[in-house]
Amino acid sequence: MPALLEARGLHAGYGPTQVLHGLDFTVEEGGVTALLGANGAGKTTTLRAISGMVRTTGEVLFRGERIDGRATEDIARRGIAHVPDGRGTFMELTVEENFRLGAYIRRDAEVQADFERMWALFPRLRQRWRQQAGTLSGGEQQMLAIARALLLRPRLLLMDEPSFGLAPLIVEEIFGIMRRVREESRVGILLVEQNANLALELADHAYLLETGRIVISGPAAEIRRDEAIRRSYLGY
């Protein structure tokens, strides 16, 4: 059985600037894979490359089929949801409308049931139902972004720094929710995080990125225990 997602020799960049220099990695179904590294290592670009938001060379296979070179909307329609950096909520629209857009491509009858599931996961969003998304707090916006992505019923969820710019308590809450998501569904998660400690706690497998190359990969638990890696790459 092919991996949920597999990248082979993935290169990507912006104009003449190459950011990724041939990455090989896999994401398994139903697990959390963390992508760690310093600022500018190419973490966000990796997610964008998977979603077809930057020009790439090399292969990206999703459930055994090539998706590299396809349009972003087609990749989303195949079941890859992306919580981008800057969250990607629709600020001008209400929470309800953001929910509806999350389920935009779905034709099944369970959308309403999924709304209720999201309300249970994020009770605060229910209270803000008719409010403009731009008026939500940072944490609530991040929750909305995650809910919006989950409503696509993705097989793969790409998350770009869900902890960014949030208070520690909120980060705790969001990671708690992600733990629940991972237990309750079969979705595979590729998580980009600056906060390595937090990410390794949640992840099964981790890759360490340095200036566009993977320098270390292994089970998250092992990387956490390895003091040399922690000191030299993760800085804690």
């Binding site: 938001m53 990607g88 600020m91 629209l93 857009l101 992505a149 696509l152």
Partner: protein, 290 residues
């Protein structure tokens, strides 16, 4: 007093036309952040198409809806064939394309249909004077049509999935793609819809101002003034602005500057808004917390 009421009612009737066209401008503006200068010319072309349908023997309302459909397709085609290739080009390229479109469509219309002024029929005729002659049947009918169009557009954007997707694509194309919305097509649909709304405006104003290839030139200016007055990024505001400009223009024409200088009113409104309140009366203020 009766004369005043008469002027206000006539102002509301033409204001409705400005409101429709202002809405068409705002729809394209919201999606692309550019003003389509050729919106008026496209509406004139549509009106000529309607006239040829009617002259070919179609009943008025069949011709009316056929024109809307054809105009929608023209709008979609313009976006797909002309705007799409330059979508990432700088602003001046867009301005150039819009001006080119304005000249090409204007001249094409004249070349195909001729430059002589033509009568355009109204479907609203009445033998009895309405409300003691205060309002003409056409004024009443065209205002009703305009309001129906505005209501339909509102309901479409508020309450349909496609309307929501079009708004999402306009506000945030990047995120729209991430939820699977085909942003390019939403833009084309927006152009189609704007062209269709413009076509209705053209068919409703033509019986009043008569049809010739430059019919919409002045009207687009009024519509633009209305859009700016209400807020170029606020559809509701643009509609209200359109009505306001219609009434103002009529009153100023009757009591202040005379008919010859009416267009000046539009220009004064444009300059006034830009100087005093550039975002318009109802300009969108997006609240955002960081």
């Amino acid at each position: 007093m009766e004369a005043l009421a008469h002027q206000i009612i006539a102002g509301i009737a033409t204001g409705g036309i400005y409101a429709s066209l202002a809405l068409a401008l705002v729809m394209i503006y919201q999606a692309t952040h550019h003003v389509n200068f050729a919106q008026g010319e496209m509406a004139t072309l549509s009106t000529f198409i309607a006239l040829s349908f009617i002259q070919a023997g179609m009943p008025y309302w069949v011709a009316f809806f056929a024109t809307i459909a054809v105009s929608f397709l023209i709008g979609v085609a313009v976006e797909r064939l002309l705007m799409r290739p330059v979508q990432n080009a700088p602003v001046l390229t867009h301005v150039g394309v819009f001006i080119g479109l304005l000249l090409i469509i204007g001249n094409l219309t004249g070349w195909v249909f001729g430059y002589t002024t033509k009568m355009f029929p109204t479907p609203f005729e009445s033998d009895q004077p309405l409300f003691g002659g205060l309002v003409s049947a056409h004024q009443l009918g065209s205002t009703a049509v305009t309001l129906a169009v505005l209501l339909l557009v509102y309901l479409f954007f508020r309450h349909t999935k496609l309307g929501l997707a079009m708004r999402a694509a306009a506000y945030n194309p990047r995120s729209a793609r991430l939820v699977g919305i085909r942003v390019g097509w939403m833009l084309a649909l927006g152009w189609g819809l704007a062209a269709a709304i413009g076509a209705v405006a053209g068919m409703m104003i033509a019986p009043v101002v008569f049809l010739d290839p430059t019919m919409m030139l002045g009207i687009l200016l009024y519509a633009f003034a209305g859009a700016l007055l209400g807020g170029i990024d606020n559809p509701m505001g643009a509609v209200l602005g359109g009505f306001a400009v219609g009434v103002l223009e009529n009153l100023a024409g009757a009591y202040v500057v005379g008919t010859e200088l009416k267009l000046t009113v539009a220009l004064i409104i444009i300059i006034g808004v830009l100087v005093i309140r550039p975002s318009g009366l109802f300009g969108r203020v997006v609240l955002s917390r960081v």
